[in-house]
Symmetry: D2
Amino acid sequence: MFLKYFYDDALAQASYMVGCQKTGEAAVIDPSRNLKPYFDTAEKEELTITKVFETHIHADYVSGSKEMAERAMATIYYSAENGGDEFGTYEWSDDLDTVGLKDGEKVQMGKVTLEGLHTPGHTPEHMSFILTDGAASDEPIGMFTGDFLFVGDVGRPDLLEKSVGVADSAKKGAIQMFHSLQRIKNYDPSLQIWPGHGAGSACGKSLGSIPTSTLGYEIKTNPALQPENEADFSDFLLADQPTPPAYFGIMKKVNKTGAELLAEQTTPLRFGANVKKMQNLLGADVTIVDTRSREAFAASHIPGTVNIPFDSQFANWMGSLISYDRAVYFITEEHHVDDLRLAMNAIGLDRTAGYFTPLVVEQYEMAEGTADYPIISPEQAEKQLNDGDLRILDIRDHFEYETSHVKGAENLVMNDIPNRDQSELPDGPVAVYCGSGQRSAIAASLLKEKGVDVRNIKGGFMRWNQESRPVDKVEKVTG
Amino acid sequence: MFLKYFYDDALAQASYMVGCQKTGEAAVIDPSRNLKPYFDTAEKEELTITKVFETHIHADYVSGSKEMAERAMATIYYSAENGGDEFGTYEWSDDLDTVGLKDGEKVQMGKVTLEGLHTPGHTPEHMSFILTDGAASDEPIGMFTGDFLFVGDVGRPDLLEKSVGVADSAKKGAIQMFHSLQRIKNYDPSLQIWPGHGAGSACGKSLGSIPTSTLGYEIKTNPALQPENEADFSDFLLADQPTPPAYFGIMKKVNKTGAELLAEQTTPLRFGANVKKMQNLLGADVTIVDTRSREAFAASHIPGTVNIPFDSQFANWMGSLISYDRAVYFITEEHHVDDLRLAMNAIGLDRTAGYFTPLVVEQYEMAEGTADYPIISPEQAEKQLNDGDLRILDIRDHFEYETSHVKGAENLVMNDIPNRDQSELPDGPVAVYCGSGQRSAIAASLLKEKGVDVRNIKGGFMRWNQESRPVDKVEKVTG
Amino acid sequence: MFLKYFYDDALAQASYMVGCQKTGEAAVIDPSRNLKPYFDTAEKEELTITKVFETHIHADYVSGSKEMAERAMATIYYSAENGGDEFGTYEWSDDLDTVGLKDGEKVQMGKVTLEGLHTPGHTPEHMSFILTDGAASDEPIGMFTGDFLFVGDVGRPDLLEKSVGVADSAKKGAIQMFHSLQRIKNYDPSLQIWPGHGAGSACGKSLGSIPTSTLGYEIKTNPALQPENEADFSDFLLADQPTPPAYFGIMKKVNKTGAELLAEQTTPLRFGANVKKMQNLLGADVTIVDTRSREAFAASHIPGTVNIPFDSQFANWMGSLISYDRAVYFITEEHHVDDLRLAMNAIGLDRTAGYFTPLVVEQYEMAEGTADYPIISPEQAEKQLNDGDLRILDIRDHFEYETSHVKGAENLVMNDIPNRDQSELPDGPVAVYCGSGQRSAIAASLLKEKGVDVRNIKGGFMRWNQESRPVDKVEKVTG
Amino acid sequence: MFLKYFYDDALAQASYMVGCQKTGEAAVIDPSRNLKPYFDTAEKEELTITKVFETHIHADYVSGSKEMAERAMATIYYSAENGGDEFGTYEWSDDLDTVGLKDGEKVQMGKVTLEGLHTPGHTPEHMSFILTDGAASDEPIGMFTGDFLFVGDVGRPDLLEKSVGVADSAKKGAIQMFHSLQRIKNYDPSLQIWPGHGAGSACGKSLGSIPTSTLGYEIKTNPALQPENEADFSDFLLADQPTPPAYFGIMKKVNKTGAELLAEQTTPLRFGANVKKMQNLLGADVTIVDTRSREAFAASHIPGTVNIPFDSQFANWMGSLISYDRAVYFITEEHHVDDLRLAMNAIGLDRTAGYFTPLVVEQYEMAEGTADYPIISPEQAEKQLNDGDLRILDIRDHFEYETSHVKGAENLVMNDIPNRDQSELPDGPVAVYCGSGQRSAIAASLLKEKGVDVRNIKGGFMRWNQESRPVDKVEKVTG
């Protein structure tokens, strides 16, 4: 048997290739849309990808299963255990070769066997796959657990409720999750656990930075495997789950059928530093994202552009803040363009239309003038707040704000800014902060675009705390 | 003034950027469709491209003028001196900002002046542009001569007749060319000459491998500037012009309006080494080109694929042998894909749909078996020909065949092979040769695909000659 | 805790990074000499590499521990359990910060603990490291087993005897290995196993293509964990171990102290296609390796060069066939140079002096003529053997030859060819074969360089078998 | 004949390849040390580089002639017209194949001829080369003029005096230049002129941004060809020549013999973001250059590092401000390392020892704290100057300062800063400015490292002027 682990850092997403050298076949479990790593490996190992397995309908990225089925003419194996739930039901096109699996059904590939195990909780149809390497033993070697069991965590059950609005599904999912967890306790503790995500994924709340685990180790150490009854477990699981990124709802819809093929995409065009073209686009119904650093954007930017720096959280913020219906243009270094586009494709933002180089900002400054906003120190912020010259906005999530925040700060969650009218936003001078200054730079650019007189507080709440400035918290009423 | 020379090796095509540092503007003369080099330079020099100049309606590559006009919102300056000739008349879309120039009209850009000089011959509307750097002098510094005057050659006047079928236009063009040449003899001999093509271009017959020249040097040394009357000149010019590549006719049509924007193109997909996908495509109405070396293709290839190795003549043979109406798939190393696509775009072949890696041939061999053809030595070829076991085909151009060929060889020009029915091709064993073995490898693959029992003669006519084997020639009847 | 798996395909070698996010420190277990992946990860995770762990003195690649200690100023933790054995004793320079560990000693790094477990067998000093993630549990999570326990195999105990010539050490190591294996049976079966090598490594005989395992799964399925007494185990373990690559002996010496820093290396120079320089080098005491495909080399090569194609076995054959004392020059595509050098460095071949592009072969052919050798079909080989016109050489390992070989073939192990005088080699025509034709292409080039009239049999023993041609085997006398 | 133009943007340096297709030979005129472009072209054209021509002993970059002679085993042709002048005399090693040329001597290469023409002025031995393409004509086609005649300028005659300290050589050179210029007026005005440098080179004072010219055009338009007697010419030529970069003196010495081969260089090492290694180096006798943007450096940098951003002037400032005797370490993005090293090699700074990634600054900030300096607006600078709180330093060249400067500013030329003791520098707060803010950022970092309380004025003198703030100038006493 051949087994290889794949990990996409930007998505904190794990996928897997299993192959049988004897028959030359390979299967991929939960491929992302960028198929290059799978093709590279298959070619190196001289295997042909003939099968794709989907653990569930993903909410956080576009599945590559349809793309693989089309390009490699592979068969898709998916969970048919939807229990009649609309949100657990795939709607594959008839052109594709697909097989719905029921709990306990096995798929044979040479000497390798994958057995479906229905493990609802994160989603109603969620299926794990138990792997047996027949060349070595009849005993299973491990389990692909998707978003059911992570290292140190389990999949969150509240996404359907929060992202798609299915009433009461969070509680229902939590109870399913409890029973799914009890069920796997019967398996051999030396089974390996191969999860669908790692640290940083929004599909759970505290995933570990460890790629693989064992059932025995999880039973001993995973907090989610400790509660002994439905109620305790449910309380534990539903507490403190963060707001899911805005684009999760779209992903759920896209992944029921599979996204458009990447072949349908057109090519992003370079516009160099052309000011006239920039002006032309600024007047059109498109989105222009400036991926330069927050310091550079704060110092000088083209009015009407939004600042989402190209770092590890790029896809997340694009998905949350940018409209899926408009063409997107970038201001970016040319050597980032391919990676930007991969990141956009990963979450189904398929309308990258073109890009300008950073020089366009300088050229625009000379031709038309640019905008800027101040970055101020916590000390300055505190003084101006006390003097009544400034309002301070905490743009973090509610639960972060509630735990502890700058004394006197108001909470305006960043993801809500794009939907606010100007009248719903402060008109006097405001300063924004987040945890460390990264998110608040994006928020500052969003507010600035809506005409707010904004500044960013350097170092965020972390530095505010380090300097022992006054904080406050919200008493939560439980029950 | 700023001036930079650009040269595209694959097209043997020269273009130029002129800028005025004072106003920050730049103009490009005869851009190819790959705009990256122009944008790179403009950004480095902090110039904005505001103008594009077309010397004429090109026959050998897709002009980048429309693409530049759309992306940089630049104005296109083109020759309005069409003399009522349909084939000398542009048909720009109304969306574009265009200016038709008459002989003697000047375009000012800061301190720089470009003056149109009508120089018909290669095409009826052909215009050269005389450049004056007002910052240095009122005297012109040089002339962009497009396909009028090359280093050591002039533009051929027979393309409209041969590629588009305009009767008698070759002779007419030759006479126009004579008068255009006489006219420029009046200019200062120290003027620089900046031509539109270099060695290897099919727009002339003996272009030099020298990037620039002067009017004085050309008057002294260029063979086309020596004949003193229309008749001598015309005889000289029309003699020995090679068959133009098949795609020149298409280019003439495309360049009257400008090609589709590259943004309209979709993305080529990777299919790895997937045999099933390959089988699927082999049954479809598409073209599959194997870009591996001729040795590798001869040794083992997938039946139904054509061998056009990725070398300096790639674009030329693709344009001549491949249908513009079908999607094209490649078998190629992944690191060549971007360059392949650039080469295809350069000649308007915009339907690159996907690619397989070379491993697919090995995988296909294991699954289905592959085909091969022998490469034989001149010695073997001569013996088999004498024994009556073999026919030998010279696949070079008629005028090459006529000059000298393998004794006993028949002439079948390679560009004609795709249009022949199987019944029009030899059914016994044949061996093909060309000059050095490159073209004949392509021809062998074309014949093989049509079911001919083919072999390739190693080293071509060059080696045949070196080994002093018997040759023959065709007596030409002049007059 | 942070944990990441690294895998070097060329070396089939696994290494690991463990970090503690709380203190920002990281440790690398068994780094290879290419530190880029470790630095990339450390930077991405904002960790500082402060520690390096060596499981044992490696025989198959240059350890990167010294390089890391110098560059990152990290501390090296190594096994001090040498039992007085010279070949189990490190000889670190005093400049380095090193700590020798005894069985049971623990190293703390923030919340993470690594405990040394002396597991001799592969080497006398071999140490495994048991990992505990104190942030999650006091129970260990897994074990870095180096070349002690692999997935489906254990480390071979015969390298010191075969590569360095330590008499009787193979048997002694086998018995140590038996007891090391019994000892770990006492640990929790749900412990993860993180081995030092994967499939293809010559440090074992049948390693699995599976990256990680668990103790429980190995106890159930690993053949080496089944024998119940020293004798059975020893017989099992010592049977059928292949000849170790020739460079293993050198590696053992290099790794006792650590190799020279890569900074001491000079830069490989490009010589283009310069024939004069090639002639100059052909007369010098240097090695010239042609990395082109076997088909291209067979068709035309420069006499005096050796053919080692740049594929996955490149480092292996370079280490086995090329002198460590001579400068090495390559004929290779320029885009392979960095990778070639990395592969050379990985096994301590630090004298890459320069390279020519493949065009040099064509230029040499025109100037001086080149050599070639035929690739013949099994059918031709069989006929000529039967006619008495040909001797056939099987250049595979003895144990492969003994199992089954071409009827009438003699065995000449490839690694022995460089050490043979011309007088010890056949002078009539010979044909060589291996398993599939890859190794025998290298062997053919070695024989050709020594003046043998050689040819290569297409497809090797695999194809011979497929075509059902006569084979023979050697009856082994067991005793 | 084959002719190709090469241009190195970083050095503003032109070189040329001439080849004869008939014999397959090529010559390079004035190669820079990066031989890749010459090898690429030679291979593409299937030419072998057999000759190198040196127009003179260069002062501004390391000649690649010796490197080419060693690698391609080519012959070096150089000027033997040194007139007994030590600074005009090459000292080639005996290992090299070299030929000294006298005025009027010709070198034949197939059908191509290069004739030496002694054109002293820029240097005593300076030789131009007249090119004749015998395949086309017996008349010359053009002239490689090195640093004798540029487009719109001539070579400066004062470098030996200013860079190497040869008394009165500037005046003497000016008179030689006058006579060299008169001499070439006798040649055909349609000769092409191929100069050794373009705009931005410090080898002249006002070179044009035009790659090539003709003798006739230069005679008409080049200001240096207008004065009609020695005295007027000399006054014209010696006026307003800028201070040559500090490294020019070193280059003159290096180029008499040729630099060490690049093969002797060791490999730069990556140190990631390792703070401990950084601290270790900060205490050693090495130079650490931070290549990040001036904004990033001003905001936070490691004390003891110098800021030289990686832009088009990088090589110039490195050569002027960095010691040739110390190893150099960089803080830089990894994808710049190869280009940084090329730029360093181009001017003979061959001791690039290693690099850190920009993250090291953040890591250092957390561990040890970093330094910063303010960027202030012209308005703030003017106010503080008037209030007596600030001194303003103009760090431009003397002649720039004299022409016009900020009222009240003192002149401290940047190149002098490294040689000043702390006692010779201001101890109160100072603000620096240059033309646009680029140079002054470097100067600020140099002053900061010497303990000065520094700030940088945004936008430099250009913006000060745009805002119409008070300026002053120095009355020059002529005569």
